[in-house]
């Protein structure tokens, strides 16, 4: 394609992501989004106006050189596009799928200012990363000379992997310790196959392994080995263990059989593959032709409710105490859920879970709410409507209202300073904790957030760790 004028670029409409048909995909675990074809990707890439001061890069927590990689796609240089991505993002195939681009890079795209849909940056990122994984020949990675400095990464989730990816390229010796039997953290146990195929996570982890990152699974820092013990063997430590201690509703009946935290529900299905029982012997409550209610309005709630549909639920419903407008889930996830037949019930709060004599969940008692005055977050606070109670029949409930911080590291590392919620306190400009040589980032610092924010924290920490290793006296 010859060089286009800005006007010609702007005349191109944003290209939709091809998807599996909603009525087919809601009964399978295969990926919903099918990815751009080469033609769609090149045309979409041509829309980018290549701004001199690209705001999208500022909107990206890991500062991906967005116009540059998109230009490579427009020129058909997909390998180069992927390489540009990987300079700033250790997991582009993951981010291209799960990042909330509409709140980040795409939110500030020049097109949006002009009242048009932004360039589909996320879809293009996914395209380049997938193309490379499927087509590219392995090249010798460009690594800085080895420094001989050793860094321990605690937790194999997005924060840790991003930190590891940067540090290995900077020439350091990197070992990632993971408590579970697979690397990936929330990417493996939390986000479902239909949104992020596990094979893609594995490919990104394999790529890091080829760069020289060492992975140790089944190793719980705090128990198998403490932070203090790691300190004697490593020059620096990054803690990225995630949030991972599920909140419950604290209402009567939460002990009933059929009541899950989202973490448990999703871990059984994603990590342990309970949908393939008994070939995979980990069971999950049988929700076939049954009613499943998920409490919560975030991405995890959407993941859980769409998983319930795929397990065969006849009715899968989100119950949220505010309205659709306040739901923290990504717009695309809500749209997908609706298309697939998920029902939404807004302005309801659970009061009680009711079971039978055997302790099996049977009903849920809901308090109907209305929106009142705005609260500290600026969102209108839901308030109960007097005497407005509804009881509905239900077979399984999934509680997806967030996570607190896991106590294993803080309780075994008394020196480490945490706040009253158990989140590690860091200097956000460099992710330094109060312990010399120990950095932290991701959900264990911020509380439950997104994959890309955790990855951004991992990057910030990697840069600071590099500085520290060059000059330990600078701490």
């Amino acid at each position: 394609m010859s060089e286009l004028k800005a006007k010609e670029r702007m005349a191109i409409e944003r290209h939709h992501m091809p998807e599996q048909d909603p009525n087919i995909r809601n009964r399978n675990f295969a990926e919903v989004n099918l990815g751009y074809t080469i033609e769609l990707a090149i045309e979409e890439a041509e829309r980018c106006l290549r701004c001199k001061k690209p705001l999208c890069v500022e909107g990206c927590p890991v500062s991906v050189k967005i116009p540059e990689f998109i230009q490579m796609i427009a020129e058909g240089k997909f390998q180069e596009a992927a390489e540009i991505l990987k300079e700033d993002n250790a997991l582009p195939a993951v981010c291209g799928r799960v990042c909330p681009q509409e709140e980040q890079c795409e939110a500030v795209c020049i097109y949006v200012k002009k009242g048009k849909p932004s360039v589909a940056i996320g879809y293009l990122e996914r395209f380049a990363a997938d193309w490379e994984r499927e087509n590219a020949k392995l090249r010798e990675p460009k690594l800085a000379p080895r420094t001989g400095k050793k860094v321990a990464i605690v937790g194999g989730g997005p924060a840790g992997l991003s930190c590891a990816g940067d540090l290995i390229q900077m020439g350091h010796d990197v070992t990632v310790f993971e408590a579970l039997h697979e690397i990936g953290g929330v990417l493996i146990y939390g986000i479902p196959e239909f949104r992020l195929p596990k094979e893609i996570v594995k490919a990104e982890v394999d790529a890091l392994e080829r760069l020289g990152v060492k992975f140790v699974t089944n190793y719980v820092i705090g128990l198998t080995e403490t932070i203090d013990e790691l300190k004697s063997k490593f020059d620096a430590i990054f803690i990225g263990v995630g949030a991972g201690l599920p909140y419950f509703l604290n209402i009567p009946g939460e002990h009933l059989n059929g009541v899950y935290s989202a973490n448990e529900f999703l871990t059984r299905v994603n990590l342990m593959k309970a949908y393939d029982f008994p070939n995979h012997p980990t069971p999950i409550y049988d929700v076939k032709d049954k009613v499943v209610i998920v409490f919560g309005g975030g991405n995890t709630a959407m993941d859980a409710v769409r998983t319930a549909l795929r397990l065969g639920a006849k009715k899968a419903m989100i119950c949220y105490r505010r309205t659709e407008k306040e739901m923290p889930a990504r717009i695309e996830e809500i749209k997908h859920a609706k298309e697939e037949g998920v029902e939404f019930k807004f302005l309801v709060a659970p009061l009680e879970l009711i079971g039978d004599e055997q302790g099996n969940l049977k009903q849920v008692k809901l308090q109907l709410m209305e929106l009142g005055e705005p609260d500290s977050s600026g969102r209108r606070r839901p308030v109960p409507i007097k005497d407005a109670i509804e009881i509905i029949d239900v077979d399984a409930v999934v509680v997806a209202i967030g996570n607190g911080s896991n106590p294993i590291i803080s309780s075994t590392t008394p020196e480490l300073i945490v706040n009253k919620w158990g989140n590690i306190i860091v200097d956000e400009s460099n992710m330094k904790t109060n312990m010399k040589g120990v950095f932290a980032g991701g959900d264990i610092v911020t509380g439950g957030a997104t994959v890309i924010l955790a990855m951004g924290a991992g990057r910030t920490a990697a840069k600071a760790i590099d500085d520290y290793l060059k000059n330990p006296e600078s701490w």
Partner: protein, 286 residues
């Protein structure tokens, strides 16, 4: 992958394994557990660490074959490997010098009680062990228990060995005989632990039980192992596994442990089918 260095049956369907796990052997304390996966697709099952050998870098676990996974595990022999082993998980037993401590193990619970009984003995307690089983074959680890106890009372439900009756009856007998007991540890089937709690409550004897609920990750991440102690929810994997027996809601514990009963049966039948097929293939090839 962790190598099994020793494997032998010590009771009906009860098998002892020594498995290479140097780091866990070094770190573990009485009362802690591991999570194990037999093979690539396997489920994660919690097992209490019965013993460890720091010099040889092994831990001992004792497994009762009750479902698909444990029966599969019990087919493994020395030289085989388990796919995953992680630990030590949970909090260590709270050990202090109480005075006279009674350690009660029911069935395979004896294996779980053993390390704590030993720690109690090492802390200077006078240790009385009551080890129960359905019949003689189900009374396990008697020799090991003897070495860490001042007195040992085997009990059997059918009277085929030792005291004829339940462990609780033996405990009640000791109390009736005026023995001063300062601490009781009870580990075994839930009804047994509940019965022990009921016996000691009127005497106000501090009583601890080790809970074995359904778990997935074992690190506090999923909340599947939640139990109710003193009316409040706890995560057994990170807050336990040992709790004050007089505070535990055994009813809920039993109800939650029943959650997957029908699945366990199906998984077991599935496993048997595969195993039979495997056996037939093997016979054909021989």
């Amino acid at each position: 992958m962790n190598k099994i260095v020793e494997a032998r049956f010590i009771g009906p369907e009860v098998k002892l394994f020594k498995i290479e796990a140097p780091k866990i052997a070094e770190k573990r304390k009485a009362g802690q557990f591991v999570i194990l996966r037999v093979d690539e697709n396997g489920e994660r099952i919690p097992l209490t660490i019965a013993n460890s050998d720091i010099e040889n870098g092994t831990i001992t676990i004792i497994v009762q074959g009750v479902g698909a996974t444990t029966k599969k595990l019990n087919t493994l022999e020395a030289g085989d490997f388990v796919r995953d082993l992680v630990g030590p998980l949970g909090k260590a037993s709270h050990i202090e010098k109480f005075g006279t401590a009674v350690s009660i193990g029911g069935g395979v619970g004896t294996a779980i009680a053993y390390p704590t009984a030993r720690a109690l003995k090492e802390a200077g307690n006078y240790v009385i062990s009551i080890i129960g089983g359905r019949s003689r074959d189900y009374v396990i680890l008697e020799n090991e228990i003897k070495q860490v106890s001042d007195e040992v009372f085997p009990t059997t439900d059918d009277g085929s060995y030792g005291f004829h009756g339940f462990v609780t009856q033996k405990l009640q007998e000791l109390l009736d005989n005026g023995r001063k007991i300062d601490f009781v540890l009870a580990i075994g089937p839930i009804p047994m632990m509940k019965a022990v709690a009921d016996v000691t409550k009127p005497y106000n004897i501090k009583t601890v039980v080790s809970l074995n609920p359904i778990m997935v990750d074992g690190t506090g991440m999923c909340g599947g192992c939640r139990a109710y102690v003193g009316g409040k929810p706890v995560f057994v994997c990170v807050d336990g596994p040992e709790f004050d027996a007089h505070q535990v809601d055994f009813q809920i514990l039993m109800q939650r442990n029943r959650m997957y009963n029908s699945f366990e049966k199906e998984a077991y039948e599935h496993y048997c089918k595969i195993y039979e097929m495997h056996d037939k293939e093997l016979n054909k090839s021989l």
